[in-house]
């Protein structure tokens, strides 16, 4: 082992500091090739017959890409065709520096065995290490290092190859200068495009090539559309001195010319900066981290309530600069993007708008997510891709182009098909939905599985108890079961038994890691994406009736006033006597003829639950409302045939009460035991401004709502009634739900506010659904340690790791909810497609500047009725912020108005099929009629007169 030292100078936060590091050079770094006889390596990565059929290189060869090739063409490198690639350490480090997402993807590729990617630690290899020469820039030095390493490889392979079949090394670079120098030193070198195009078997790879910078002047007109982004150094300086603000860019879903930047301030104070107009948005894409500069106060405006979609390509300049009522309270700071700190581009799902010109290879791509701008891509397969859902990645956004440039990644299938749409839905919401890998499945218990005596050592045998489960119909992942019995002293013993998933999923194995990354099971209409493999979720963990299962039991002793006298937690084995549905359980309770053990136990539970619920509501827990719909599916085609809103029965709330009680008891216990690393759930109180809309709405009906505390809100919601309007209260509760904040998981050591606002509980966690939520598994593990039934492991006690886990869980949870909603929306569309045109009654839920949003209680469906139409005479619209009301000609719409609408499916845009609503009643002076032949662009409202 030779050793030498290198001196590195580094600047840090202004000051210049000399940093000296040792740098050891080794001669035991092997080349990783199967063909090599000179290296004493134990395992090889690169194959001898490294054949990628290429018209440029007919011989077997290894590829050595340089940094820019990896950064820009990672999509190509990820393709299964590309194999036997040497990634140099120099390249890896540069990629790590410049783009975290690409680095992560590169690492994934490196780990994949079939890809035969090898990392060569050239910086520490005695023969490939080079010193930076005087006057040489860091980049030039790295380029030279790559060339030296490639040179070394080709010579090394020439010398040590066992059966001389002429293995060669091909350097891929897009840099002209680098290429020339490499050629001078006798290396085989190609441009990335050249090489990919030469691959005989796979012409479609060419489409995946990212457009490199030197081609960009071909695309787009020469006129500069956007201001230049500032360099990072100036942005940093600006942020430091306070002239710029850093934040995450969030495009508006409704208006493509509007976006907000969420600026995290110190502590809790954070501001939202409003951005309006293409110039000010300046090529930022949803979720980018950007630097914004505030505009002078005179240009601050209120957010426009206009719903605006990017429909035309050219008309982008007529931004609605209407007379904004200078309502100072509504004023939001506005700003403009001056630079991008970090792009957060991912591959986007969407569809191709095939260009009008037949031979053109450039097409526009419309992402499914409306917050993402359209992307210009180049492809030769436009005709086959039309009508398909495809994925596209953005490569760059030059300042003279209206749209960003991107490239095609893969096709998902034809649009409108259920499978394709589901795939899109899952991809867009970042739901991991691949089948479980072999590594994960290998950690499943072997079947047939039975309880062994060793298992029972630390478990309590509760198999004799008459436990039963109550769930929605068709539920196969039963994670909770209950029992209740009278004790000799007259008190009641109530037990909640939760599936003991943590018995099967041991910490830090592949199964555990997979479950942690999935975070939650996602329920779509007619499909479930499991968090754990089915063997566990529907069999071994599921507390089905008449089989012996492991459980984690929480057992209380209560008196008849439902006061908890004693709480006990134990791991147990149970044998559920019945799996009931809510309706079945309700029937048993109501049927006076039935007096078996289970029914008695259910009655006892029901009685206690009612008391518990009353106590909870007295403490100020909120009862909110949201309409959930349920589809009746056709058993063969899986198409929805009927739709009804979910009904709630007494037994629903019975189960819920005990789950809440168990969660609270467990939360208290794990927090007492582990004050630093308990995983809890909190629901922050919403800021008062959130209630504005609710207050205004209630006021319009002369109802007073108090929002000072959860209790006051609950009481005033209970009291809110309007004669002759029975649905008013439900509507109000729906509005109240929209004012709430998201409940989140957090680690107790990282936060001080534990309060759960909605449940009015000082502490809360999730314990009762470990089959479908990962948070519950962690809570189970913590509780098991707390009662001495299991041992800890390092990550469980590390609050930083736990807090990172919480972030992931919160993200997955949010995304799964969105995916669920999107799935319901898609099925609603299918339903209305089969139904044709329907007339229904609904209520106005919100009033916007140019539209009203209508809720149809029968279907739990929300839709927008537009009053202005592009290219048509706009009726006289007057919008009043105070009400808020909107007067159309003579008629005034305000919240809670009853209206009658026609519901139709608008499939003019295949990508965003929409439920269209148009007004029938009240008739606004000019009559609106729906005409199905209306040109696709036009909103379906049309003036008849």
């Amino acid at each position: 082992m030779l050793k030498s030292k290198t001196f590195v100078k580094k600047t840090r936060s202004g000051g210049v500091m000399k940093i000296v590091r040792e740098h050891y050079l080794r001669d035991d770094i092997w080349c990783g090739s199967e063909a090599c006889s000179g290296c004493k390596q134990e395992s090889t990565v690169l194959q001898t017959d490294a054949c990628m059929e290429s018209s440029l290189c007919s011989y077997p060869h290894y590829l050595v890409p340089d940094t820019n090739v990896v950064l820009h063409q990672i999509d190509v490198l990820e393709d299964p065709v590309i194999r036997n690639v040497i990634i140099l350490q120099t390249v890896l480090q540069e990629v790590r520096h410049r783009s975290a997402p690409v680095y992560k993807r590169l690492k994934d590729v490196l780990h994949e065995k079939e890809k035969h990617f090898y990392t060569f630690t050239n910086e520490h290899h005695r023969e490939t290490f080079i010193d930076r020469e005087p006057g040489e820039s860091a980049n030039d030095r790295n380029d030279r290092a790559i060339r030296v390493a490639a040179k070394w490889y080709s010579q090394h392979l020439k010398t040590f190859e066992c059966d001389k079949d002429g293995l060669k090394v091909v350097l891929l670079t897009n840099d002209q200068g680098n290429k020339q120098k490499a050629e001078e030193s006798g290396l085989l070198v190609y441009k990335c495009e050249e090489y990919i195009k030469s691959l005989i078997a796979n012409p479609e790879l060419v489409d995946r090539l990212a457009l490199s910078n030197d081609d960009k002047n071909e695309i787009g007109s020469s006129k500069v559309l956007f201001p230049e982004h500032l360099p990072l150094s100036r942005i940093q300086a600006g942020i430091k001195c306070g002239s710029f603000l850093q934040g995450t860019f969030r495009a508006s879903r409704d208006n493509y010319l509007e976006a907000t930047v969420f600026v995290q301030g110190e502590g809790d104070d954070s501001t939202e900066v409003l951005l309006q107009g293409l110039q000010n948005l300046n090529r930022a894409v949803h979720q980018d981290v950007v630097a914004v500069q505030l505009l002078p106060r005179s240009q601050w405006v209120a957010p426009s309530s206009v719903v605006l979609q990017d429909e035309g390509a050219a008309k982008d300049d007529d931004v609605e600069e209407e007379e904004e009522e200078k309502n100072l309270e509504q004023m939001k700071p506005t700003g403009k993007v001056v630079g991008i700190i970090k792009r957060n581009w991912r591959p986007f799902c969407g569809m191709l708008n095939v260009s009008q010109i037949k031979e053109s290879t450039r097409h526009l791509f419309t992402p499914a997510d409306r917050r993402v701008p359209r992307i210009r891509i180049e492809t030769r397969q436009a005709s086959t891709l039309a009508g398909h859902r495809i994925m596209v990645a953005i490569d760059g956004w030059p300042k003279d182009s209206r749209y960003p440039n991107g490239h095609f990644v893969r096709s998902l299938g034809s649009a409108g098909e259920k499978d394709t749409e589901q795939e899109v839905l899952l991809l867009e919401h970042d739901v991991p939905h691949q089948a479980f890998s072999q590594a994960v499945l290998s950690f499943l218990p072997k079947m047939p599985w039975a309880i062994t005596p060793e298992d029972m050592v630390r478990r309590e045998d509760l198999r004799h108890l008459s436990v039963c489960s109550v769930d929605p119909p068709g539920c196969t992942d039963i994670d909770d079961a209950l029992h209740c019995r009278e004790l000799e002293n007259g008190n009641l013993e109530v037990g909640v038994h939760i599936a003991d998933v943590s018995h099967f999923i041991r910490p830090s194995n592949a199964l555990d890691k997979e479950a942690a990354s999935r975070g939650t099971t996602v329920y779509l209409c007619g499909k479930r994406i499991d968090m754990v493999p089915e063997l566990l979720s529907s069999n071994l963990c599921s507390l089905r009736s008449n089989v012996e299962r492991f459980a984690f039991s929480c057992i209380w002793e209560m008196n008849h006033k439902a006061e908890v006298l004693k709480t006990r937690f134990t791991k147990s084995a149970i044998n559920s006597k019945a799996s009931l549905t809510y309706a079945e359980a309700q029937m048993r309770i109501d049927d006076t003829n039935m007096n078996d053990e289970i029914t008695k136990s259910l009655r006892g539970l029901n009685k206690l639950a009612k008391t518990l619920k009353r106590q909870r509501i007295d403490k100020g827990a909120l009862t909110l409302s949201s309409l959930e719909v349920r589809f009746h599916m056709d058993s063969e085609t899986h198409d929805p045939i009927d739709l009804q809103t979910k009904e709630l029965m007494e037994t629903n709330s019975m189960v819920e009460e005990f789950m809440l009680l168990a969660n609270i008891s467990v939360a208290q216990k794990i927090y007492d035991e582990f004050s630093e690393c308990a995983l809890l759930r909190k629901h922050p109180a919403p800021p008062p401004s959130n209630y504005d809309i609710l207050l205004k709405a209630a006021k319009s009906k002369d109802v007073e709502i108090h929002t000072d505390s959860a209790k006051a809100l609950a009481d005033s919601l209970d009291g809110a009634k309007v004669d002759g309007f029975p649905y008013f209260n439900t509507l109000l509760r729906i509005l109240a739900t929209r004012c709430m904040m998201q409940a989140v998981y957090f680690c107790s050591g990282m936060d001080s506010d534990f309060h759960h606002y909605g449940l009015a509980s000082p502490i809360y966690t999730h314990f009762t659904s470990p089959i479908r939520r990962y948070a519950d598994i962690i809570v189970h593990r913590l509780l098991a340690v707390a009662i001495g039934a299991d041992s800890t492991y390092p990550d469980l006690m590390d609050k930083h790791k736990q807090s990172a886990l919480c972030n992931n869980l919160n993200y997955r949870h949010k995304m799964s909810q969105y995916a669920q909603r999107a799935s319901v929306a898609f099925h609603t569309q299918l339903f209305f497609k089969s139904r044709g045109i329907l007339n229904e009654e609904g209520y106005v839920l919100f009033v916007r500047k140019n539209a009203i949003i209508v809720l149809i209680p029968k279907f739990g469906l929300e839709g927008t009725v537009f009053f202005d139409t592009k290219g048509k005479t706009v009726p006289n619209l007057v919008f009043d912020e105070e009400g808020p009301t909107l007067s159309v000609e003579q008629h005034i719409f305000c919240i809670f108005d009853k209206v009658k609408v026609t519901i139709t499916l608008d499939d003019s845009n295949v990508q965003h099929q929409k439920i269209r609503m148009s007004l029938i009643e009240p008739v606004v002076r000019t009559q609106f009629n729906y005409s199905p032949d209306a040109e696709p662009q036009a909103k379906k409202l049309k003036l008849d007169n």
Binding site: K3, K5, M17, K18, I19, V20, R21, E22, H23, Y24, L25, R26, Q89, R96, K107, L110, T119, T121, E123, H124, E673, F674, E676, C677, V785, S791, T792, Y793, P794, M797, D798, H800
Partner: protein, 320 residues
């Protein structure tokens, strides 16, 4: 954990002594193996390298309780401390030490001296004694020698020049640790009512200051001809990605690694000092100590070679 009673010779014993936090992570502050009353009866050993049998009674004491320093878990510099290929920042593998080079007898006027480089960390150690007690006589012990250690850092030892007054907290603490380490290793009972001075100066600092000082001082003590039970070899180890890294350099130490310093009498496998200021899960402790012990044994081999070579040079000069 305030008693002095526990017998501490091997890892299970240590684990028993270590305080376990309520969440089952451990923070070893400083654990010392002291020869308090122990070796009164033992016979004078050879010049160096005398090893006591394990039957000797060793006292253990948690001598110093340092302020609890919370480790910065965040990898601040954003460096990848251990690559997927198993190489560290400077190209070493996880268990590899830095290059150790040393010279003994660098100064003629002192009784013993040594200069030691471990990578870019360089230290100078000088030993005076044993001699009669300087200063107040009352410090003298009737049955063994007093060991006096002084640790300092040169003003030019770091990237930025910094005045380092004597007696600051850090160096006082370090002096104390050195003193305790050498009280465990030097056969002080041979020199009752006398004093041994050990002065160590860090000339250049690049991580592992304590261990380099111990290693340099060992050579200096040997150079002075003061009998020791064994070499005392020290090494720091850190814990990254479930892997123990031996002999941390500055970039690694400051990169948010939980590091542990261990001084070992390698032949008997006895631990003279164990120190860790970061939190670590109990399950990892054993692996970490094991790695530290292996690293220390590696250091001892190098030191042994240096001593033998020095002996050869000296004896050829004196013509023996």
């Amino acid at each position: 954990m305030n008693s002095v009673a526990a017998l501490c010779l091997n890892i299970p014993d240590i684990k028993r002594c270590i305080q376990t936090e309520e969440d089952r992570t451990v923070t070893v502050r400083t654990l010392l193996l002291l020869s308090l009353w122990s070796c009164r009866s033992s016979s004078p050993g050879g010049a160096f390298g005398y090893v006591h049998s394990a039957a000797d009674t060793w006292g253990v004491a948690l001598a110093v309780r340092l302020p609890f320093i919370r480790s910065l878990r965040k990898n601040m510099a954003g460096l990848e401390l251990l690559s997927d290929q198993g190489y560290r920042l400077d190209g070493r593998k996880a268990a590899e030490l830095r290059k150790v080079q040393a010279r003994m007898g660098v100064f003629a006027q002192a009784d013993g001296s040594a200069y030691l480089e471990q990578g870019n960390t360089k230290a100078l150690a000088v030993v005076y004694g044993p001699h009669e007690i300087r200063g107040s006589r009352s410090r003298a012990l009737h049955d063994r020698a007093v060991i006096n250690c002084q640790y300092s850092m040169a003003t030019f030892s770091t990237a930025e020049r910094k005045r380092r007054p004597h007696g600051d907290r850090k160096s006082t603490e370090m002096s104390l640790h050195l003193k305790q380490t050498f009280e465990a290793a030097v056969m002080t009972q041979l020199y009752p009512r006398s004093q041994i001075d050990i002065y160590v100066k860090i000339l250049q600092s690049d991580g592992g200051n304590y261990s380099v000082c111990v290693n340099a001082a060992t050579l200096a003590v040997i150079d002075a001809g003061i009998p020791m039970r064994d070499y005392v070899c020290a090494c720091t180890v850190g814990f990254v990605d479930e892997t123990p890294l031996a002999d941390l350099c500055y970039a690694e130490e400051s990169g948010g690694v939980s590091s542990l310093a261990l001084a070992l009498l390698p032949r008997g496998g006895q631990i003279a000092l164990l120190q860790m200021d970061a939190r670590l899960h109990q399950d990892h402790l054993e692996a970490l100590i094991e790695a530290a012990m292996t690293a220390c044994k590696g250091v001892s081999k190098v030191l042994d070679e240096v001593v033998r070579q020095h002996l050869q040079e000296v004896s050829s000069l004196t013509g023996e």
